[in-house]
């Protein structure tokens, strides 16, 4: 697996934010089919880096290469279509849509959304829609939420909304999923369930890049870990090694 080219390559990424160089020449790679962690003390620039990679912010400098293609500066929707999908720290569901619709709307390349599909009507996209509904119901079942399928998403609880956000990202069949603190606020058992899910997904070929504060989680599931501090990459390697390196320990103490 390490012979294959990396799914993501970030070179000299730079982003300034209100006068501060939040991301200051960041370079690292994320391996294909693996879970890469991005850690560091508060204010290190991890979330900003993730936002730039995900297309939410445009970089001031540097390059982002995804699956062999230079996608620097691409807008979010274009990246999402290519397979680079991000989830949000605060779950953003479509409140006026039902739960199952939240999943259906994420399915890429629906024929019913093309100009011809709109005019031609159900005859044209009906079959595809049926299959998507089956797929969506299956996913709801695996997350234990099939009972809420027809509930307006705005009425869901916080945890349920997080689940919907994750399911929605998965419906897109991403190649690389960017996650910003996915375990935040979750109980230990739910955390473990999510960890198992992530491992299962990478087993199926998906790649993950996550920003995470819970170092135990990071140790358990991440292959390579990149440590950032003050906008730069401080160190990288496996979590067990990193724990022993002095500069990493210092960064977390000083912050």
């Amino acid at each position: 697996m390490s012979e294959a080219s990396p799914i993501l390559e970030v070179r000299d990424l730079a982003k300034s934010y209100g006068g501060v160089r939040a991301v200051d020449g960041v370079t690292f790679t994320a391996a294909r089919g693996a879970i890469t962690g991005l850690i560091g003390p508060n204010g290190a620039g991890k979330s900003t880096a993730l936002n730039v990679i995900g297309g939410f912010l445009s970089p001031d400098g540097g390059r982002v290469i995804f699956d062999g293609e230079d996608v620097t500066g691409w807008p979010m929707h274009r990246l999402a279509r290519r397979g680079l999908v991000r989830t949000f720290q605060l779950a953003r569901v479509f409140g006026g849509l039902t739960t199952i619709e939240n999943l259906l709307v994420a399915a890429p390349g629906h024929r019913g959304e093309s100009a011809w599909g709109i005019l031609a009507g159900k005859r044209y996209w009906g079959k595809q829609e049926e299959q998507l509904v089956l797929q969506a119901r299956e996913m709801l079942r695996s997350f234990g939420m099939e009972a809420k399928a027809d509930e307006f998403a705005r009425n869901l609880s916080g945890g349920q909304k997080r689940a919907v956000e994750t399911m929605r990202a998965l419906m897109m069949r991403p190649k690389l999923l960017l996650l910003d603190e996915p375990m935040a606020g979750l109980s230990p058992s739910l955390s473990r369930q999510l960890e198992d899910l992530f491992l299962k997904l990478t087993g199926e070929g998906m790649s993950l890049l996550l920003v995470e504060h819970g170092l135990d989680t990071v140790e358990r599931i991440c292959g390579k870990v990149v440590v950032m501090a003050q906008g730069k990459v401080l160190s990288e390697g496996r979590m067990t090694e990193l724990r022993t390196r002095k500069e990493v320990q210092d960064a977390y103490v000083i912050g």
Partner: protein
């Protein structure tokens, strides 16, 4: 044609054109979340396009009106021109509204655009005859070989047919996968972008389609009343439509239909039936009361029942438990 019969014709034509306009606004605002308070400009564009395509050249009319165009086209072509004009203006308005502003700021910007358009058209006389507006001479309705009574009812038929077709086209956009996607864009533009939807393209497309609805509405209306001036499309006219959408039920086509019926008929025509004494007090008093009623209705509904009379429906999908 008796006075009551004529009145019925007038109501039906107004209702039909208002429906087309309300459906367009609902598509833009209720379904897709585009706060287009300059919608009236697309209606005006359709009306002016119709007039300019129907009239003969200015010189042929004795130069008593100044305007661009004058293509002397038959009714169907002029209506299509109206639809296209509404569509193009809709997209142009959409381009001005593209910056990611907070919705209320954007609403005000749109109102200003609407006001500005009226001011520019009023001031620039060679364009569309300025403040005086344009008049169709002779009054041009289709089927001109029939007697006036039959002609009027045939026109009602045309409006009705256009509404049926319009509703059919509308449903194509407000239901199914695209309806879902538009609502997602309305609920959370950022999240919609994150799942691969091209927000800019969708907004402009929606304003193009909504604008076409507005354009056809304006074209049909002007074909009937045979005159159009900046006074007919003051910025507050969008508010009447907006009231219909809010009262009826935002995002719900049937709701908006009911809302339009309520506003166009019960309110705007209802005030005409206030005792004659009102009008002898002062001309136009009844219209003023109409506006007061509309404004109050909007506020009351936002306060008590913002989802409207018929709230958005919850779609069901097959294969459930």
């Amino acid at each position: 044609m008796g006075a009551w019969e004529f009145y019925l014709v007038v109501i039906l034509v107004y209702l039909g054109t208002d429906l087309l306009a309300a459906w367009g606004l609902n598509l833009e605002f209720g379904v897709s979340g585009v706060a287009n308070l300059a919608f009236i400009v697309t209606i005006a564009a359709g009306a002016y396009a119709y007039v300019v395509f129907t009239l003969d050249t200015p010189a042929a009319g004795g130069s008593f009106q100044q305007y661009v165009g004058g293509f002397h086209q038959p009714f169907p072509i002029a209506v299509v021109a109206g639809a296209l004009a509404g569509s193009i203006v809709g997209v142009l308005i959409g381009i001005t509204g593209l910056k990611r502003l907070r919705q209320d700021y954007q609403a005000v910007a749109m109102l200003v655009v609407s006001l500005m358009a009226a001011t520019v058209v009023s001031a620039d006389t060679p364009f569309l005859n300025g403040n005086a507006g344009l008049v169709l001479l002779p009054q041009f309705t289709p089927f001109s070989d029939q007697d006036p009574e039959t002609r009027r009812w045939l026109f009602v038929g045309i409006v009705a047919a256009t509404c049926v077709i319009g509703y059919f086209v509308l449903r194509r956009f407000t239901t199914g996968p695209i309806g879902r996607t538009l609502r997602a864009m309305r609920d959370d533009e950022l999240a919609a972008s994150a799942i691969g939807k091209d927000i800019v393209a969708m907004r402009l497309a929606v304003q193009g389609v909504g604008g076409a609805f507005g354009g056809v509405s304006g074209a049909l209306l002007v074909a009937f009343i045979a005159g159009w001036s900046p006074g007919a499309w003051a910025y507050i006219e969008t508010l009447a439509l907006l009231t219909a959408v809010i009262v009826g039920g935002m995002g719900n086509d049937r709701g908006v239909t009911i809302g339009t019926f309520l506003i166009a008929i019960l309110v705007l025509q209802g005030v005409q039936f206030l005792p004659q004494s009102f009008n002898s007090l002062r001309l136009g008093l009844r219209e003023d009361m109409g506006w007061i009623l509309l404004g109050t209705l909007t506020i009351v509904f936002i306060w008590v029942r913002p989802q409207g009379i018929l709230p958005e429906r919850r779609p069901k999908y097959g294969g459930g438990p």
